[in-house]
């Protein structure tokens, strides 16, 4: 079970993802604004952040950059509904670990999250061993 933060301004999608991930045993923190997401990521010991690119106010990319600048080292998955994959490229270049383009299947979404969590876990184990 992992604590996952989801920042997504579309309420229905946020609710569905939350329900799905909770049913799979994760603990979910969910918010619609980037500013709150930034604070929670740094304060609430989340293991993974799911960040939508197009958010009202500060964009997901800005929040991503700020989190990395603030030293947040946990995996970040960004979601984008833009036509071009530029947003994904920018996200990856700005420090995201993975990028998923909408519309996606929940199974796909979940497998990306699991992969990221496993990677983070194995990295921290290697880090502890070495």
């Amino acid at each position: 079970m992992s604590r996952i933060l989801i920042v997504e301004d579309h309420q229905t999608l946020l609710r569905s993802i939350r329900r799905g991930l909770e049913a799979l045993g994760h603990e979910i923190l969910a918010t619609e604004t980037g500013e709150e997401g930034y604070d929670w990521a740094l304060q609430r010991d989340v293991e993974l952040v799911v960040l939508d690119v197009m958010l009202p106010g500060k964009s997901g990319i800005e929040i991503l950059k700020e989190l990395r600048r603030a030293g947040f080292g946990r995996p970040i998955l960004i979601l984008s509904a833009k036509v071009s994959h530029e947003a994904g490229q920018t996200g990856l270049a700005s420090g995201a670990n993975a990028f998923l383009a909408k519309p996606f299947a929940f199974s796909e979404f979940h497998s990306v999250i699991q992969r990221l969590l496993q990677q983070a876990a194995s990295e921290s184990r290697t880090g502890v061993q070495s």
Binding site: D9, Q11, T12, I17, A23
Partner: protein, 465 residues
Amino acid sequence: MIRRVNIRWRLTLWFAAAMTVLLVGRSFWIYFMMERRLATIADVELNAKFDALNDVLEQAGSPEELQGALARFADNQRDLQIEIVSSDRRVLFRTPEPAPATTLRPSRAQMSNASRRYETRISGEGDQFRRMTCDISSSSGTMTVGISRSMQAEQTEVWDFAMTLLTTLPLGVLAAFGVGYVVSSRALTPVDKMIFTANDITANRLDQRIDVPDTGDELARLAQTLNRMIDRLNKSFEEMRRFTADAAHDLRTPVTALRTEVEVSLMADKTVEDYRNSMQTVLDEAVHLSRLTEQLLDLSREDHDMNPVAHEVVRLDTILHSVLEDLRSVAQQKKININTDQIRPWCVTGDPVRLRRVFMNLLSNAIQYCPAGGLVWIEGSSLPDQTTVVIADNGPGVPADDLPYIFDRFRRVDQARNRQSGGTGLGLAICKAIVESHGGTIWMESTFGQGTRVSVSLPSSQAAG
């Protein structure tokens, strides 16, 4: 044929042709002026000779003496042919070589003395002679004295000159051609540069601009005009790009939500209540998506002028009352007061169905954003050319920063609340497109926290009043 030739060569050809006409004309003019001048000089000389001959004629006493004096005179003036004829056509004196009489040409240089006539004669061999004739009265009757001299030397001189002109003419034409080409090339160099830059500008490189020459001339103005056109293209491309991105976002996100909702619901058995909630979510998203697609289609139709504006006389008051009737239950639920006292029989020209959509959007916005117990009112004015209708409310208003973009597509002032209320962010953009396709204008005034006024101005119908 000449239309296929580029401007540089056309200018060169026109310049060379004009210069050729000028050169040929000038050559002819110089030729005739020279010929005329030489004839005049010859006439002055003939005049002087005639005066001398006249002296001889006057001084001689007897006819024998006269013949002798004339022979001596003619002997001294070998370049002259002298002929004296009596009034009865008898030849009184004639030098051995008579003046040619084959061809006569009218005099080109008449001198002021009317009794002296001048003419140029051409012999059978083509040699020119200048001849002066004058009638003199004497005791023995009237005589006609004619003296001629050869114009051979002058003719040769004029001919040589004409030959020089003729041989230098092609050189002049060639020079005109060269100068024309160089000048037109220099003049068109900025155009070539513009073409090069313009060719380089594509949809993805609309940030480039054409260099404006610092001359203030037509080419500078052309460059400025092209740059302004590229600005407009760039702006509309940017708008299109943003619109596509926004549309993609607004379509893909609800589709993802729909899919996730269904997938999550199918992951494990749920209670009937859970399924009911899921179905409601799916329905809400489906309704939102269908409204969004409908509005995207409407905008696309407006953008591509697929709805030609009908020129019917439309009673806006009828439309407003009908829209308010449809919105009555929503307004009553929210306890919104709607004041319709100011509505007058306003007549405009246009499409009643599309104008109804405009006022439906504006009035539902006003009711939606007004807090419970709020007030919405309609006012307006009608002038001979323009009728303006204002939909006003005392709702929360729009922040000043958002006001300039309020009619932009997918621009939502309060996105969260808008989504809750089912807004797509296209309603005002559609209103703007419809009003503008009617030749009207739409604008919003708002004070944040105090209320909003949306004004729609449309061309009045002639039937108004």
